[in-house]
Symmetry: C2
Subunit: 345 residues, 2 copies
Amino acid sequence: MKLTILFGGASFEHEISIVSAITIKEKLSSFDLSFIFCDGDHKFYLIEPSKMKAVTFSKGEHKKMPQLTLTQGGFLQKSMFSTTEHKNTVLNLIHGADGEDGTIAALFDFYNISYIGPRVNASIFSYDKRHTKYYCAARGVKYVKYEALHSDEHKDISLDFPVIVKPASLGSSIGVSIVKEESGFDYALDTAFEYDKNVVVEPFIEGVKEYNLAGYMAEGEIKFSVVEEPQKEEFLDFEKKYMDFSRSEQVHKAEIDDALVAKLQNSFEKVYRGMFEGALIRCDFFVVNDEVYLNEINPIPGSMANYLFEDFSRVVEELSGSLPQKKHIQPSYEYIHNISSAKGK
Amino acid sequence: MKLTILFGGASFEHEISIVSAITIKEKLSSFDLSFIFCDGDHKFYLIEPSKMKAVTFSKGEHKKMPQLTLTQGGFLQKSMFSTTEHKNTVLNLIHGADGEDGTIAALFDFYNISYIGPRVNASIFSYDKRHTKYYCAARGVKYVKYEALHSDEHKDISLDFPVIVKPASLGSSIGVSIVKEESGFDYALDTAFEYDKNVVVEPFIEGVKEYNLAGYMAEGEIKFSVVEEPQKEEFLDFEKKYMDFSRSEQVHKAEIDDALVAKLQNSFEKVYRGMFEGALIRCDFFVVNDEVYLNEINPIPGSMANYLFEDFSRVVEELSGSLPQKKHIQPSYEYIHNISSAKGK
C-alpha cells in the first residue's frame, strides 16, 4: 500500500523523529513509501527515499529537494511547468512539538488529509503530563500523584524526596532529573524549566515495576501488542532513548501472569477508547502492590513501537483502514435568508 | 491600529460568526480593519470592507473576491502579476468548529501568525463541555455535576428530572433541550446527537442565578468586564442567541454586592491564568446558595462581548499588545553529528 511518512518538526525531538523514520522505512519495506520532512522553519520537503539518511538533514541537503505546500486533500508540489498533488494517507511520525501537541493533527483536519496519529483532543491530553493526569482522573485511571510548578512562581513542594522532575510537555526524558535530596532540587528545576515553563514533580518510586503496552483500534476493537518490561537503569537518558528509537527487533514478552496483562489492557482501553482512535499509542505503566498506574501516554511512540508487534506491516494496514473520518459541517444560511426576506431585502 | 478579522468557518455557528464580524466592524470603526472569510470548504477570501453584509456570504458573492492561502507569517494573495502578503494581527472570530476547537489556533501557531484568540490547549478545555469539567476539577473551580453519554452506547442516567441535555461541543444553545420528565428524554438525546456523538446531561436548576463575566490578560494582569445578569427565558434558543451576537450597546451592571463580584472574579482568574492568555473570554457562572459554579467558558464570545466593556477599542489594543509568543524551537543535529563522527562518516 501507499503511505507517506511525515517526520522532523520544530521540536527538541527532531533528531529522533529522523531516526524513527529511517527505522520505519526498513520495517515497512513492502510498502510504497514516500517521505515528507518538516524542517525547523515549518517548510515541507519531499525526500528522495534513497536519501533517507541522518546526514541528509544534518547537512541541510534536503533543501535541494522539492518543496511542498498544503492544499485541500494533500500536499502540492509546484515546479516551473507542472503541479503534482500528493494525496496518500500520512503517518505522522513527528515526535514532540508539532507532531504530538496537536498542530499537525489540526493542519491535517483542516486540509482534509487522511492520517495515522493522535487527533487534536488526544494530543492535548497526552502531550502535557498535567493534562494526562486531568484525563486519568476523569476516566477513572490511576496515576502517580504529582505537583505542578510554573517558572514564574516560587512554591515549596510537599512531596518527600527522592522525586522525579519533568518538563510538563516533553518526551524522550529530555530535561528529566531524579532528585535524591532537597539540595539538588533547584538545579533540577532549572534544567526542566529550560524546556518548559511548566514542570511536574512526582515521587520517585525505587524499584517500581514498569510495563509498556501498545495498541490501536481497528474495526471497533483494540488490538494490543505484547507487554514489555523495559530494560532500564534508573531511567533512560536522551542518548539511550535516541538509540532506543531505532529499535526494530521484536521484544520478548514480560514474564507476568494473565491477570496482570488483563489489568494493563483494561487501563489501556479506558485511556484509548473515545479519544485516541486513529493512533497507535504506547502506554507506560507502573505497577505497585499489584495496582496499575499510568505513567505516560506516547501517542506517537519511537519508531511506532514496531518491536512490540509480531507483524508490523499488518498493524499499519489495519490502522489505515480504520481511520476516523471528521464529519464535515457545511454551513447553512437559513437565518440570514429568513432575516433578509423578513426585511424585504 | 491595523487588525484583520477572521470569521466564517465550517461550523454550525458560521452565520453567527458573520453577524459577530459585522458588529465588530461597527465597534472598531477607528481601526484600520481588514476582513478574511473562511468558507465551508476551508478556503480563505479577502473581503472588501464595504461588502461586509450578511447577504454577501449567503449569496456566495465572496467567491468573486481575492482568494488567500497561508504562508509563514501571514496570508498570501496571488494575482496574475503580483503577490501581496497580509501580515496583520488576526482577531479569530470564528465561533464553534474551526475557531474554538483549536484548528485555527494550531494553523496560526504553525504559520507564525500573531492572533487574538484561545491557543490550542485553551480551545480543547473550553470547546468540549466534558473537558471543561475535567479542567475545573483540576483547577479547583466548582462546576455543575453531569453525566456524559455517547451515541454508540445505551446507558441510563442517575440524575433526577428536570435535566438539561447538551451536545458536548457546541455553543449558542444549538441542540440543547430542557427535559422536564423522562418521557421527553430520548427525543432530547436524539436532537443533541445530531450535532455531536458526545452529550452531557446536567440537572436543570429552576430559577438559578446566572452571571456573565468577561476578561483578558494584559501586562500580566487580568482586566475584567462588568458582571452582567443575562436577561433570559428558560434559556436562549439559537434564534435569540443569533440576535444576541449582534449586541453592541453596553449593558447595565448586575446588581450584586462586591463580595459576589470578587468571588466571580476569583473563579474567572483560576480558569484564565496559565491557559487562556491571548484570548478575551467570557465565563458564564451559576450562583446557588452563594456558591459560584462555572457553567461554561466562551473563548470567543459573540461579538467579543464588546457590550460588557466601557471602551472596547482600548480592550482590543491592550490585548494585541500582550499576546503570548510561542517559543520557536530550532532543531539541533548534535546527536547525529556525534554518531556520524563516531562512525567516521
